[in-house]
Amino acid sequence: MIDNGLLVQMLLGALLGLSVYLPLAAGQLSLATPAFYAVGGTLAALLSTRWSGLGATADGGFPVPSLLLELVLGGLLAGLLALLVGRLVLRLQGIYLAIATIALVEIVRVAILNLPFTGGAVGIFAIPQPFHDASGYLLPALALLALAGWICQRLEGMPLGRAMAAIRGDELAARCLGIDTTRVKLTAFVLSAVLAGSTGALAAHFLNTWNARQGSFDASITTLAFVVLGGSRTWLGPVMGGLLLTALPELLRPVGNVRLVLFGLVILLGPVLAPQGLITPALLERLGGWNPRGSAEGRQEAQP
């Protein structure tokens, strides 16, 4: 049923869900996650094969410290791109922002397909392996997810996270309160990109081959489905959504190739049937009084 390979994929899905969640927590619907994922993955694939090799051995092995370096570099490059693009697109709102981020995904996809050094439609293959089998990837994926989750959890008690929530509630009101909305939105966008970039770098090694299809409009839909299913009110929602929706198609494999029909149905019916997603703050409170907001203030609100 669930083997180690699938577990790693599920963790990667959860990471991408978090990447879509971060801008959304500041009220910005960005579909750009696959673009940053593709950028991080492409960088890692190039670094470990065509460019320097970073110590890749002749039999296809790869030192673990180099992998960690790639995670950092992939995240940095994606973050840098987000910083450049975000300054421009985050002035846009609602539909315009969604369209602009779709355009970014398409531009990055076409660029990876056509640049002279990214391997064209075939892509880059035989990416060296830092671990002997899939189970080796569990630890770094889990560690990345724990780190991302910890940051999201911390954010909720920090001024930045509160500013994000304020913008989500009412951007104009937040601006009137003196919140530098552009800066807050940009920070959320860059964080989301760094996370997607690092995830891409890890995924490139795990998948062994990397091409332009990794960051397509399809992927925008898939990652959006993670958040819609799990819910975007707490960071646990997209994590659950990513885990579940990555596992489900594999478990349903006997039914046939209905993966995307399933994702489509989730996005189509989710907002109608369960507008808040599966994981809501109220649910978490019922499950043992754990407060997802993680703040003293929140706790007081919970027990009036």
């Binding site: 619907l29 369209i99 355009a103 398409e106 489509g264 907002p271």
Partner: protein
């Protein structure tokens, strides 16, 4: 030299006409509801495949019913018309499932973007289950053009007849729609709902019916575009409409959200711009629309012919 340029421009105008159809479809729904129907690309695919089936094409080996096809086969014009109507009907279904429940609840309009995206994904993948992922060429090809020669010579330039037909049919559809919106009672009612649904309702216009009409017309335009592209090029797989749908978005923004003349001008401009990409950079052609989209969003978010809206508190 001049001939080559003329040929280039005519080809550009022909694909520009199809972009204009898709963008007009978005425009109709956007002006009435203020949201974008992301299922438009899927309806484009459906139009192409319906035209194929109605003209007597058979389902390939990877489809759900291999070898099945409609008995006989209709002439191209009739098949195209019926396929457009069929896409319009499916668009009504999309409205019912993806838009109406949210509207009744008074939910945030941005949610409709997500649900319509879901509707599009479901439709395209159902199409794939039915027809398989393989490409299809049209059964009749040149016969479909009812005795017209394959290639026309216009001012010394050789251009495929189907390209000229493509341009003429999309121009006729666009013109008919604009005239209808401008002159007829129904068109005025639709524009009244777009302006202010509540007031229109008070004046005795059935707003709900107008919303459905907008969805039907927008789906029909997408279906028409899909049928035309299918006949003139081929059906490379159920996903082909998604690409046109995304480019239609770029055209929509280029022309200005909600502007009918903007959608037409934007479509033509985009088609011409793509035609002028030199052939050794053709791999980058697909990125051009989005690069233009980016520039427009940054320099003039209201588009070429859109109205500037003032944000109110």
């Amino acid at each position: 030299m001049i001939e080559a340029l003329l040929q280039l421009l005519l080809n550009g105008a022909a694909s520009g006409g199809v972009y204009a159809l898709v963008a007009l479809g978005y425009t109709l729904v956007f002006s009435v509801l203020g949201v974008i129907n992301f299922a438009q690309g899927a309806l484009f695919s459906i139009g192409g495949y319906l035209t194929y089936l109605l003209m007597g094409g058979r389902i390939g080996v990877n489809g759900a019913l291999p070898g099945w096809g409609l008995p006989g086969g209709l002439p191209f014009a009739l098949a195209l018309l019926l396929a457009a109507a069929g896409s319009g009907l499916i668009s009504l279904l999309v409205e019912r499932v993806a838009f109406a429940p949210l509207r009744r609840r008074g939910a945030e309009p941005l949610l409709a973007l997500i649900t319509s995206l879901g509707a599009g994904v479901v439709l395209v993948n159902l199409l794939q289950l039915l027809m398989g992922a393989e490409g299809y060429a049209f059964p009749h090809g040149a016969d479909a053009l009812a005795g017209l020669p394959d290639v026309l010579v216009i001012g010394g330039a050789r251009i495929r007849t189907i390209q000229v037909l493509l341009l003429l049919i999309s121009a006729a559809a666009v013109l008919a729609l604009s005239l209808w919106l401008e002159r007829s009672k129904g068109g005025r009612a639709l524009r009244a709902v777009a302006e202010d649904a509540t007031t229109a309702q008070l004046l005795g216009i059935n707003s709900a019916a107008m919303v459905r009409l907008a969805f039907f017309l927008s789906g029909a335009l997408a279906g028409l575009g899909g049928g035309l592209i299918g006949v003139s090029v081929s059906l490379p797989g159920p996903y082909f409409g998604i690409g046109y749908g995304l480019k239609g978005l770029a055209v929509l923004v280029l022309g200005g959200l909600g502007s009918v003349p903007g959608a037409i001008a934007g479509g033509l401009l985009m088609g011409l711009a793509e035609a002028l990409v030199p052939s050794d950079a053709s791999g980058w052609r697909d990125a051009l629309a989005f690069a233009i989209l980016f520039v427009v969003l940054l320099l003039r978010p209201s588009g070429l012919l859109g109205r500037r809206t003032v944000e109110k508190v």
